[in-house]
């Protein structure tokens, strides 16, 4: 008996073995891990989790690996901060920030999914890992591959700024810059994944990789004393993160770790790339692909793989989707920094901006216990705020000069 039964199609339910597969051969639906919850229920308890490592691996009984953790042993278990100041500004009595800007080792939530993906990739016998990315995912895969002594290929669009890839190059992967427009590069990466027997983390390893996001829900519930929040606000790129947070809460309920789930899941997108929010506003289940045009590049996915499912979760939970403009993204980043001392990347600005709108519109109420997910560090996207943070006050080296500016 083991915790993983295999993989299962999310659309038609056809079952597959727990191998590096991601698309149903019958209906082309996405595959996800099929767990043996009865077995897990007999293994897991709050006490066992609390005695576990201070990382996401304390929830290993609910994660899609067969053996012990081998890669990314320090990822996760990031602070859940009681955001008194921001809450006060927004008019919320009980606001929390789940702060993945300090995730280990590459300062974004991708360290969660990549830890799981590479541990599983090693179990499946791969010696090479790969990804296609413009930022956070590339950083995390390159860092974890270095730690795991796996060969690593990172594919990037040929016109990506040099600075963006520095955080990957330092770990010495092979970085392949592909000429062509975004769609061409995207298609080539999918073809390479089909051709080479590599662990392409967000393609053939995706069913395992995506499960890492559930740990954000597990940690939130544990840090709230084994209860769930009334409202969560989650940035939506592919939509996977949002669906997995919902799945995580519901799994905890299913196996008896928490009593109930009454959380409304809200999705946040930048106006310049908001295919899921647009479907929500238009009251349709059709997520129409768009061409991204926003400074929130880490969540600018025009044709989101899990868009349809993210929309379903928001509707099912009674939450909402909303969007912010690029200036509002910058305002959100500045607001979070000014009130809580947290420098988030642009995606964090989107989340805070949408949180503000949801409070103003009455969708999130003053008494609602609310968690906002801040998924990446602002040091990675400094260009977004470089012209919006002011400049130092210059003075001559004289006490009188200093006192003059103090009086201003």
């Amino acid at each position: 008996m083991s915790k993983i039964k295999g993989l299962k199609c999310r659309e038609c339910g056809k079952e597959y073995p727990a191998e590096p597969l991601h698309v149903c051969e019958f209906c082309f639906g996405p595959l996800e891990v099929n767990y043996n919850y009865d077995w897990i229920k007999g293994q897991i308890s709050r006490e066992k989790i609390e005695k576990g490592p201070k990382s996401l691996w304390r929830y290993i009984d609910l994660l899609p690996v067969a053996g012990e953790a081998t890669v990314g042993l320090y990822a996760g278990f990031t602070p859940l901060i009681r955001a008194h100041n921001l809450g006060e500004e927004l008019g919320l009595d009980e606001l929390y920030i789940k702060n993945d800007t300090v995730n280990h080792p590459t300062l974004s939530f991708k360290d969660r999914v990549v830890s799981i993906a590479l541990t599983r990739a090693k179990e499946l016998g791969f010696d090479t890992v790969a990804c296609a990315s413009t930022g956070n995912l590339a950083n995390s895969v390159a860092a974890h591959a270095a730690e795991a002594r796996l060969k690593c290929f990172v594919f990037i669009p040929g016109d990506l700024e040099a600075g963006k890839i520095l955080g990957s190059l330092i770990y010495q992967p092979t970085v392949v810059a592909v000429n062509g427009n975004y769609d061409d590069v995207n298609r080539l990466c999918s073809e390479i994944a089909a051709e080479y027997k590599w662990a392409f983390v967000n393609i053939n390893i995706r069913p395992y990789y995506a499960e890492g996001s559930k740990t954000l829900a597990y940690e939130t519930a544990e840090q709230l004393g084994w209860t769930t929040p009334d409202q969560v606000v989650v940035p939506a790129a592919s939509g996977s993160l949002l669906t997995k947070i919902w799945k995580g809460f519901n799994e905890m309920h299913k196996i008896g770790l928490i009593d109930k789930v009454n959380t409304k899941v809200n999705g946040a997108q930048a106006e310049g790339c908001s295919p899921i929010a647009t479907a929500y506003k238009n009251k349709t289940d059709y997520v129409k692909p768009v061409k991204p045009n926003t400074i929130a590049k880490s969540i600018a996915i025009g044709n989101p793989a899990d868009g349809y499912y993210a929309l379903k979760v928001v509707l099912e939970s009674g939450g909402a989707f909303d969007t912010v403009t690029d200036p509002e993204v910058v305002d959100g980043m500045k607001l979070l920094a000014r009130t809580e001392g947290i420098f988030a990347e642009t995606a964090g600005g989107v989340t805070v901006g949408v949180l503000k709108k949801l409070v103003e519109s009455g969708k999130i109420k003053k008494k609602d216990r609310t968690v906002a997910y801040i998924t990446g560090n602002g040091l990675k996207t400094q260009e977004a705020v470089i012209n919006a943070v002011g400049s130092p006050v210059f003075i001559d080296p004289k006490l009188s000069a200093f006192e003059k500016i103090l009086k201003k």
Binding site: F28, T134, D183, S190, I203, G302
Partner: protein, 79 residues
């Protein structure tokens, strides 16, 4: 013989055109629809295309030239 899985997204003005039928006649490829949702003003089709790689490439290019968005079945894989 090779085989690719793609998601086709049709613009409104191409909904009535038999684009998949046409590529099957213009190029040496076999097309096999696995899932689809085509309505009056929008539509997508999950399609398997089988044939020699050069013929598949030509078929995909032809559909793109007609204004159809052709993505891998995984949609966006660049994160």
């Amino acid at each position: 013989m090779a085989s690719v899985k793609v998601r086709l997204t049709f613009p409104e003005d191409k909904i009535k055109e038999p684009i998949i039928y046409n590529v099957g006649h213009e190029f040496k490829v076999i097309t096999n629809i696995r899932k689809a949702d085509v309505r009056e003003k929008k539509g997508w089709v999950d399609l398997e295309i089988t044939g020699e790689p050069t013929e598949i490439e030509k078929a995909v290019d032809s559909m793109k030239k007609k204004g159809v968005k052709v993505d891998p079945i995984e949609k966006n894989v660049i994160e």
